[in-house]
Subunit: 282 residues, 4 copies
């Protein structure tokens, strides 16, 4: 006789707010003999919307569980039951090594619970670094191609890896809506400023010119507007008058890589729910 | 006919961990038609202990609610149902004004949801400041009294105010176990160091001598051991070689008052559960 | 015979960069038997500009000292020799108490080395608080007056106090260029956002709508453009999805008052040099 | 005719305080036609000691410069004139990869201005990682050796590299005074706690047991007492009740590597002066 397998899954609930939701959902889980490892909820009172993340352990019968849950939830709910498996990512880069290097290194010593399926660059200078870690690197140059052609070439490579998420680790090309729609809320970008300050190009130069005393970085999902998607994580460091624009950029790199890897850790751990142009981070 | 009053209460649960606790508790709340405003739980896997804070709104029948909850909980549970009313505090001081001043001022403009019933000092130099805010000040000098006599004198004043919490806002006298037992987990102290570094007297001097690059402050409940109770909140600031011990103390005052008032806000909002020598801060 | 008085003064130098400036200036100070307590310099290599702050102690003969310094400096230099005396400020407020309250309280217990000459409000609700501290409050309502008339009424009160600096402690009126020119680089404002993000009205609402994970405050000198003067100090706090716009504003108040009082401390200690639209903070 | 070479050097002065020191030293530099790029000074008023760091550019005649400087300095001064060349380090490790990995990666993409001459480990599990970056790895096991023998074996390898600094990147062996004396103020250690809290073994376990709300890391020079040398850099992160000791350790690793690499950057840039058991960080 086969012993049923104990698994861990995350149940994400997103529905209209109503009385009894927590009792209803956790009651169903209890009926299914699932142990709740961790439960977090948030009600957006402004929009009357209920969100819950429930980390479950036990023997899952997914179909019956989802059916039972539908009985206790309002209509038009979004539920997802996500296996706590390692996620697959493809990393896109241009020339800068610090974010890619940090992800490769953290992954190497087991601090990022992710499979890096491949790295794709529109330049080839990060190939050597990537291959040190036995990860395939694809050089997909944009030269001689229009934006559409370049994205087609990228997608041919990327799609083949069936990644859960694309990570733009200082990928300095603007993606078209067509590209973004292929990976809805599945593209994570690191922007080298504390958004919404200094949107667009050369934010450290802008920051230096404005004489700010703090610089930052923002990790966000990419949607169709430049620098406009739901923010996952932000952090800052203090600077002073003695920093040149170049030194701000150098200091900023440490924040960028730290914010990107922490944002990625939240996402792959199924702690981030997108809600309109915002995120709920459980 | 009288319309039943809608109230807000916080239900704190502390019991042995078991399956179905969230479902059970929230199910009872639902049955009582209580709306869950906010629910947070924590399981201490190391000790197999379950903690939950449930913010409820509705018409309460306390006795029946507690009875019903007992049906779904393991034996030896601790439950408390706390009305979301303003707490009363008595503040104890010695000579330094910054923590007291901050509490008085924040309370004046409505940023601390608390009633300051009285201020008690073993010196009288903070009387003028206290009375600016129309709060009674009691000068209970320790001079000529032994520790026991002084504490008796203090308790005579303090007990009369029936405070929920005593706040030691730089009260520089060590309390005896007898005193502390009168207010178990109800005395909040601000210690002028990042505990457990620099326990005891003159921590800024110690910090300066050690050449640390960071100094901090710790708000904690007082138990019978000096500087040893459950920590509620800590924070730090960066310093450098140019700070004298005096300048460290001056810079530290800002952290002290900020940590104390944030810790107090958590406590009076019923967000802090004491668990052995630690706190769970929901 | 009269013994000459030992004083402390700060010498601020701002001139074209050249070789030998530190040697030249400190050599003159040495010749004058002035002891250098602290010396800080900064060269803006981008603009070829030299800045130095020299804290001096001794018996000053100001005229001869300045003459001697001119011998070692390039033409078109700006030098100022500032007595280390307590500065006088006038605080302007509208309705919010937290920044004013913090300044009043810190000043009361000696943590701000400043004379608060008066508080001026376009509402009268902060009169009671101000007068607790025996500081004159002037209610100069804007009602029924056009902007020019209101500013005239304000200036009549303010000018009479001969303040070194005006501190806008949540003064919610936009000042005209004519007003600002009366106090060049002498008006300090606290802006309730991390500039340049969320310029203009209702920044916490904007921050909430954008779903940011960090909010901040900016203290800056006021020049002719709204929210555009040289930044003195900035700080931030982390927030999350659970904050409403109102809760962000509440949390932001603590940063606002902290940033304003730290910026003011730098300014009155003659540590801040304005250089174009930026500051050098020694 | 040979054109003299323009170089950059750092002049570090450490002497009894006296009037005219800045003027004297910078006057000599001016006489030598050396341009001062950056000048920072600090007076320890408690001990009457003067420290200055002067970054110079020009054509150096070291012997005459040092002779001339002796003319303007009190007796018993310590002066060093350090060429702004890349420093050589040897990294010692045990089993943990995060600090080593961070140094290797940052160095690879040019964010650490240092030559990593070799990595020495008492286990061999970090050999593969080190060699990815074409840096020699030496496995010097402690097994079967007493402390003295092991240190001899280490020194044989280390000494051959003529390193400026040894970096203990989670090297979990206690060094003897004999070893430490070979590299006075030249061994940099990362301690996995906010010293002086949690001295000794298993600090994260200690931190968890104490229920602290902040954990940290400390980079310091190693002297003869365990965890006792001059502190170079410290930083912290906030934790809460939900962290197990293991999760604290995991979160702490990010602080450890960040603190170590920032401390190393300060040291190799000749910004750190050791003064008794403290550092002055210019």
């Amino acid at each position: 006789m086969v012993k049923a397998l104990t698994e861990r899954k995350v149940l994400l609930t997103d529905c209209a707010d109503a009385q009894g939701l927590i009792a209803g959902i956790t009651g169903v889980c209890f009926k299914h003999k699932l142990n709740i490892i961790k439960n977090s909820e948030f009600v957006d009172n402004f929009q009357g919307r209920f969100f819950m993340r429930t980390e479950l352990e036990g023997v899952f019968n997914d179909d019956i569980l989802m059916e039972d849950l539908q009985q206790v939830l309002p209509a038009n709910n979004h539920m997802s039951l996500i296996s706590a498996r390692r996620k697959r990512i493809v990393i896109l880069v241009t020339k800068e090594a610090h974010c890619l290097g940090d992800l490769l290194m953290k992954n190497f010593y087991g601090a990022l619970n992710v499979d890096i399926a491949a790295v794709v660059g529109n330049y080839d200078n990060l190939q050597e670094l990537t291959e040190k870690f036995d990860i395939p690197f694809h050089h997909v140059s944009h030269e001689g191609l229009d934006r559409h052609q370049h994205e087609q070439a990228l997608l041919e490579v990327i799609d083949s890896y069936q990644a859960d998420y694309l990570v733009l680790a200082k990928f300095m090309r603007i993606l078209t809506p067509e590209f973004v729609e292929r990976y809805p809320n599945r593209i994570i970008n690191i922007h080298h400023s504390f958004l919404p300050a200094f949107i667009g190009a050369n934010p450290y130069r802008q920051a230096w010119e404005r004489g700010v005393k703090i610089i930052g970085a923002t990790a966000h999902f990419v949607n169709n507007c430049l620098d406009e998607g739901p923010i996952i994580k932000q952090d800052v460091i203090h600077v002073d008058h003695s920093y040149s624009a170049l030194e701000m950029a150098k200091a900023g790199r440490d924040v960028e890589k730290s914010v990107l890897s922490r944002a990625l850790a939240l996402v792959i751990n199924d702690q981030v729910v997108v809600h309109g142009n915002k995120t709920i981070v459980f």
